[in-house]
Symmetry: C2
Subunit: 123 residues, 2 copies
Amino acid sequence: MNTESTEPSPFICGLDASLRIIGGKWKPLILFFLGHGPKRYGELKREVRGVSHKMLIQQLKELEAHGVVLRTDYKEVPPRVDYTLTPFGESLIEAMVPLCGWGERNSEVIEKVISKRKEGASS
Amino acid sequence: MNTESTEPSPFICGLDASLRIIGGKWKPLILFFLGHGPKRYGELKREVRGVSHKMLIQQLKELEAHGVVLRTDYKEVPPRVDYTLTPFGESLIEAMVPLCGWGERNSEVIEKVISKRKEGASS
């Protein structure tokens, strides 16, 4: 990385650039579930446990504006709207796969260090 | 993913587990720079552009408590303290490499969609 470049990038590094798109608590999870195929809003809401309606709508709007997610309104009655990944979003998901694998392989360790940390903080 | 497991995991999925460790704006960047080798506090502070002293210290403490980062105090005068990745942290960094690459390859697109989004928000 050349921090003295004459054409300054707005990003510290490639990871920083990625984080501008997926940053935050919910976006990676939304993308993860959309990686399994198109989803209706209600499905996503159930899968992304704990997200509020307002937050989910806001995150989906941002992902759509950033070209990662496509929202399709079928103009039906009752309304049918679904969300799917764009090719740009698909390429992003692929880059996130190893991180999913790491979390799966280490979930027990992670659970342990997190609960230990919480105990430490409350004592 | 089996959401009806009899032993409920505290994590929605592997990605969720990973995010408990690297979640937030600064941790992935701190890890990225520590991936280049041990760093003294001042070096990290310069590299992770824009992070405040208080925030950096707090994030490093959490990463240390989670077993990702090792803090070494050499008990010297003037004080010398450095931060390095643990083997657990090294394995995490490896899983983040594709995401760094994705951001690098797409940095121009990302810059464009982000600035477009900002214009849209202010108009």
